[in-house]
């Protein structure tokens, strides 16, 4: 490098210093995390939730397609029979046990894709830390959403023949 090159670039250095100095007056971009949470994107894949219909019945019918689709083998589903006296979900069966091992889950969302009733949805909660391997197993009670306002908790006592269809009728998009 020619010796005078640096002197010729001195104004550039000063310009750089000024640019950096101006940034001191900009508001910081930091989110003060535990107090202020950065909103996630709408399609963010966080912790799973098991959804309910508006009347309070669980959407999950215990078909275990999610468990079959899961590439990490993180989901365990055990189904039991519904009756009209003790009805958890529409159709024949419901998930009596539903567990997700969060140590195995890779949040790929294949379970969501596989679900025929849109029962399992990856939602926006990403605060999944735990200090014990056993706490990594999220049970059905932890995953299922609360009963909606005008619904009833499961199991429900329903008139016979009202909820025979497991999978809701799909509406054609117009």
């Amino acid at each position: 490098m020619k010796p005078l090159e640096i002197l010729r670039r001195l104004p550039e250095i000063l310009r750089g210093l000024w640019t950096v100095f101006k940034s001191i007056f900009e508001p910081p971009v930091t989110y003060q995390y535990p107090e202020v949470k950065r909103p996630v994107r709408e399609r963010f894949k966080g912790r799973h939730e098991l959804k309910r219909y508006e009347n309070g019945l669980e959407k999950c019918i215990g078909c275990a397609l999610c468990a079959a689709a899961c590439p990490a083998d993180a989901i365990f589903v055990e189904a039991s029979e519904n009756t009209d006296e003790t009805r958890f979900s529409p159709g024949e069966r419901y998930a009596s046990t539903y567990e997700i091992n969060m140590l195995r889950c890779i949040f790929c969302g294949y379970c969501e894709d596989a679900c025929p009733t849109e029962a399992i949805v990856l939602e926006h909660n990403y605060e999944l830390s735990f200090t014990n391997r056993r706490d990594a197993i999220y049970t059905k009670e932890m995953l299922i959403v609360p009963v909606p306002e005008n619904g009833k908790p499961t199991p429900q006592h329903v008139p016979s023949g009202a909820f025979n269809r497991s999978i809701p009728e799909m509406k054609d998009l117009v």
Binding site: I13, G16, L17, V20, S23, P27, P28, V29, T30, Q32
Partner: protein, 335 residues
């Protein structure tokens, strides 16, 4: 009389050590906060109000870290190196006057341990150069190629920049006609030497940035190339000592720069109220430290060959020219 002198020296030594040690702790916080603001972040603000306890937390963490000594290392030198590095930073402030002379109980006391030594500048240059031994020894005794490269770069850089540093300091010496720091400060009563010696001040500043291994001259500890340079193998409190040396030297060179070029403790009304002296000094030093952080936030690291070329082909001739012009002008004006 002797007892009073011992008391005075003892108190002043404690103050000087506290300035460096306490200043080091809070300079790390200052740097992290200011750097964060330059980068539009907030910086550490969790430990205590405004993060004021962060240095304490860092210190406690470092104390509890395991101290590793590599099996291949030269143990004695490995342990000695951080001590050699940190000592100069601690003692260099001894010749800096922290304020004007104070009358206490009929005695005239100088604020500053040995500011009336008639070779103060020489002392500064001599002591400042010792630190490089620590760095070179650390790099060599670690028996690690990155550490060795860091140590080598450090010594090469020091040799190149110390010449310019020494020559830039000659300006104030010529103007004051003395090597004593007290006289140099007193000589700036009318006009700061930074105004009479703008080139000298610029060279001094660049050379000190190189001397304390700060960005953009942080060759010896270039993270990307040398992982951490000469202190790769150090951990725990030995690493903390290197850290302390680096920041202590930052404070020390800021004090020296302020004293030699920016009028030291001088300022308005300092003759009437002696306690304004240390306040002015600290304000000026903080401005210098801010400048160092600012430059770190702005400039990327020099390439090694350019660093050497800049030192030998630009800074050295310029500082020689500066000395020459200053000397001629002083002779002509008859200063």
């Amino acid at each position: 009389m002797i007892a009073a002198n011992l008391l005075e020296w003892g108190l002043e030594s404690i103050v000087i050590i506290l300035i460096i040690v306490g200043g080091f702790a809070y300079l790390t916080l200052f740097e992290r906060r200011v750097l964060a603001r330059f980068q539009v972040r907030i910086g550490p603000n969790r430990a205590g109000p405004w993060g004021l306890l962060q240095p304490v937390a860092d210190g406690v963490k470092l104390i509890f870290k395991e101290e590793l000594i590599p099996a291949q290392a030269d143990k004695l030198l490995f342990i000695l190196a951080p001590v050699i590095t940190v000592l100069p930073a601690l003692i260099i402030l001894a010749v800096i006057p922290l304020g004007p002379r104070v009358q206490v109980g009929g005695q005239s006391i100088s604020l500053g341990l040995a500011s009336n030594v008639n070779v103060g500048v020489l002392y500064i240059l001599a002591v400042a150069s010792i630190a490089v031994y620590g760095i070179v020894i650390a790099g060599w005794s670690s028996s690690n190629k990155y550490a060795l490269m860091g140590g080598l770069r450090s010594s090469a850089q020091m040799v190149s920049y110390e010449l310019a540093l020494g020559l830039s300091v000659i300006g104030p010496i010529i103007l004051a006609g003395s090597m004593g720091i007290d006289e140099i400060v007193a000589g700036q009563r009318g006009l700061w030497y930074a105004i009479l010696q703008p080139l000298g001040f610029l060279i001094f500043f660049i050379a000190t940035v190189a001397e304390v291994n700060r960005s953009p001259f942080d060759m010896p500890e270039a993270e990307q190339e040398l992982t951490a340079g000469y202190h790769v193998e150090y951990s725990g409190m030995k690493f903390a000592l290197f850290f302390m040396a680096e920041y202590g030297k930052m404070i020390a060179v800021s004090f020296i720069g302020v004293t030699l070029f920016l009028g030291g403790y001088l300022g308005p009304y300092v003759d009437r109220f002696w306690w304004l002296g240390p306040i002015y000094l600290v304000i000026k030093v903080v401005v210098m430290l801010f400048l160092l952080v600012w430059i770190r936030a702005t400039l990327p690291r020099f390439r090694y060959d350019r660093l050497m070329a800049f030192g030998w082909k630009i800074l050295l001739p310029l500082s020689l020219l500066n000395v020459l012009v200053t000397a001629v002008v002083v002779v002509l004006v008859g200063g």
